[in-house]
């Protein structure tokens, strides 16, 4: 049980002298609350596994420090950090039974046998593994094996955090839901810090209280799922989270107005004083743009196709050269080729060089 602080932590597989842009993890300072459920979300190669391995000690950072409850543990080996980690592929000790697998971390730490038996029985019960305790672990299914990997972390009473590295990759879809709800239930029951690495936004948003979005070795935003949806701090977050992703359109922004393709859109705030050389874009989620019959005063768009997602329909349209997605209101019959777009001004965000600008 611990709060984890990362202080100016950075890592390069090419060594500390590598150019800053090549770092797998660019300097990051952040705090992981004790008892929090975190998701590290990002595309493959964005540095999320590197960050996870730095925390568990499998990788030693090029720079910076990691603190557990204020204590610097950067130089400590993995064995000495109280960290549990579940890997992408189930790791099972082949020759052992399920019970022996669960007991392994305790045996290695010379815990008395009576204590081991008690903990193993407790954790096996918690993970619904009790009927299999005496069976060879190799004979079980992938999801049961992942539970064993998780159990090996949970048996240690002193564990500070459990790290998950895309643990559901090899699990069948219908079992993914079960296992994920199991994780959530365990998190509520055990008051453990859990950090969950994934590239699947559904997994991240359903598992975590706080989602940390990474892009190109940087943490671009960390917040609740609602914050990430409503106020993406970076155009990447807007685009990566949500389906379809946020519309990002180059625009000229002056005061309370944005101009796209010669058309003016009202903004809720005043954006005077934007950096002059920056690339200015506006971002708006498809959920907050409605398709309407073409009319004066509306931005006109060419309709390319309609995606019917069952509950909602999204129109894929084109404004000049820019692709756009917009919601089709219920009962609205879509015109053949040209439509107008109605923006919800409170959800139109302005980005300068990909970063969110707070208006006045």
């Amino acid at each position: 049980m611990a709060r984890i602080d990362l202080v100016d932590l950075a890592h390069s597989y090419g060594g500390n002298d590598a150019p800053p842009e090549s770092f797998a993890l660019k300097p990051v300072t952040m705090t992981w609350r004790q008892g929090g459920a975190y998701a590290l979300l990002g595309p493959s190669g964005c540095g999320k596994t590197t960050l996870l391995n730095l925390i568990s000690g499998i990788v030693t950072p090029s720079r910076g420090k990691i603190l557990f409850d204020g204590k610097d543990i950067t130089p400590l080996s993995t064995q000495k950090r109280n960290i549990a980690q579940v890997f992408q592929f189930p790791v099972i000790y082949d020759t052992m039974t399920v019970g022996q697998n669960l007991a392994f971390p305790l045996k290695n730490r010379n815990v008395p046998k009576a204590e081991i038996d008690k903990r193993v029985a407790e954790i096996a019960g918690l993970l619904d593994l009790a009927p299999y305790v005496d069976r060879k672990a190799t004979r079980l299914t992938a999801d049961a094996k992942q539970k064993i990997s998780l159990g090996r972390g949970l048996v240690r009473a002193d564990v500070a955090a459990i790290l998950f590295d895309e643990p559901l990759t090899v699990i069948d879809p219908e079992l993914k839901w079960q296992l994920r709800s199991k994780l959530k239930a365990l998190h509520r029951a055990l008051d453990l810090t859990m950090i969950y690495v994934t590239h699947d936004q559904t997994e991240a948003l359903t598992f975590a209280d706080t989602v940390v979005v990474m892009h190109d070795g940087r943490v671009v935003q960390s917040g609740t799922p609602a914050e990430l949806f409503d106020r993406p701090a970076h155009t990447f977050v807007g685009y990566f989270i949500g389906s379809p992703g946020m519309n990002i359109v180059p625009a000229e922004v002056r005061g309370r107005e944005a101009r796209i393709d010669g058309h003016t859109i009202a903004l809720n705030r005043n954006y005077d004083g934007l950096p002059p050389a920056a690339k200015i874009e506006i971002g708006v989620r498809p959920e907050f743009v409605d398709v309407a019959p073409p009319g004066s005063g509306l931005l006109s768009a060419q309709i390319e196709r309609i995606d019917d997602l069952g509950r909602v329909r999204f129109a894929r349209v084109r404004v000049g050269d820019v692709k756009f997605a917009a919601r089709v209101p219920a009962g609205f019959s879509v015109p053949d080729n040209t439509a107008g777009l109605v923006f919800d001004p409170s959800h139109v965000h302005v980005y300068a060089d990909s970063l969110l600008v707070e208006g006045k």
Partner: protein, 300 residues
């Protein structure tokens, strides 16, 4: 589906049948034929039934005594070299680098002994061990150790065993190394997190993951050492006395030295049978060890 009956297909099978007949079936049947007969040369044969086999298994006869003595020598030799080469091969594989240019260097060095023909290996050690001109023999004798593989049983055995270890440990090491390389990094990382000691990593991860290649290594080394002929023949010629006369050497002596084709044929059939049985036992053990029963569904 209807089967097409095409008698011409037999002609296509014929060449294979002929090749197999001439290369395997006819020679083997000739040996079976010899094993039932006695000959005094001049291509004259006399029916002997199972007489040679009875003699072979009866230690009170000359043939039986020679066969059983050499069989024990073979089994002892195989046991000793397995007991040395398997652990040593594992140690070598474990201490090899995991990546970098040194891997290639190690692999080449390890492969070198395997590339040397058997009789060359024998000749190398025959000269290496000679007390007058051989580096090993000369140095040992100058250190005050009375070493002479031509006259001392123990020295002869030691030389042959060390030679075999030198020649074949590489094979075990290479197989083990391949087994080790196939273990995903996550296993080592999980073991670190579980606080496993070096020994626990070896027994819980590396050894179980190597068991398939180890079985292959044991099988290959057992078969090869059980059939060994060339190296001891070149180094000791089966001596001193008969102390390093293995079954294969005995067989050649009986067949080509004494021209006792009947005895030799019976001996070679039994020799062959032993090897086939051991192969079968290993095969059964291996397939049973490797066969995982299908996992039960719904364990979640």
């Amino acid at each position: 589906m209807d089967k097409t009956i095409n008698q011409k297909a037999w002609f296509l099978v014929l060449p294979v049948f002929l090749v197999v007949a001439f290369s395997a079936i006819l020679p083997l049947m000739t040996v079976v034929n010899y094993s039932m007969q006695d000959t005094f040369g001049n291509n004259q044969f006399f029916w002997n039934g199972v007489g040679w086999f009875k003699e072979l298994l009866d230690p009170s006869t000359d043939l039986g005594e020679r066969f059983l003595a050499s069989l024990w020598r073979n089994l002892f030799f195989s046991a000793v070299i397995l007991a040395i080469e398997v652990p040593l091969g594992i140690v070598v594989a474990l201490s090899m680098p995991r990546d970098g240019w040194t891997v290639a260097a190690c692999l080449v060095i390890l492969a070198l002994p395997l590339l040397i023909p058997w009789n060359v290996v024998g000749t190398i050690w025959q000269i290496f061990g000679r007390p007058d001109i051989g580096l090993l023999g000369y140095v040992l004798n100058n250190l005050g150790i009375n070493y002479n593989y031509v006259s001392n049983d123990f020295d002869a055995w030691a030389t042959i065993i060390v030679m075999d270890v030198w020649h074949w440990t590489s094979l075990v090491a290479l197989l083990c190394y391949a087994g080790l390389k196939s273990i995903p990094d996550a296993y080592y990382q999980a073991a670190q997190i579980d606080g496993a000691s070096r020994w626990a990593v070896f027994t819980a991860i590396q050894l179980p993951k190597m068991n398939r290649v180890l079985l292959i290594a044991v099988l290959l080394r057992f078969m090869d050492s059980f059939m060994i002929y060339t190296e001891p023949f070149v180094v000791t010629g089966g001596g001193p006395g008969n102390s390093t006369t293995f079954i294969s050497i005995e067989l050649v002596k009986i067949a080509l030295g004494q021209f006792d084709l009947g005895k030799a044929a019976a001996l070679s059939l039994v020799y062959n049978l032993i090897i086939i049985i051991v192969c079968w036992v290993f095969y059964t053990v291996m397939t049973n060890a490797g066969a995982e029963r299908p996992a039960k569904q719904g364990v979640a």
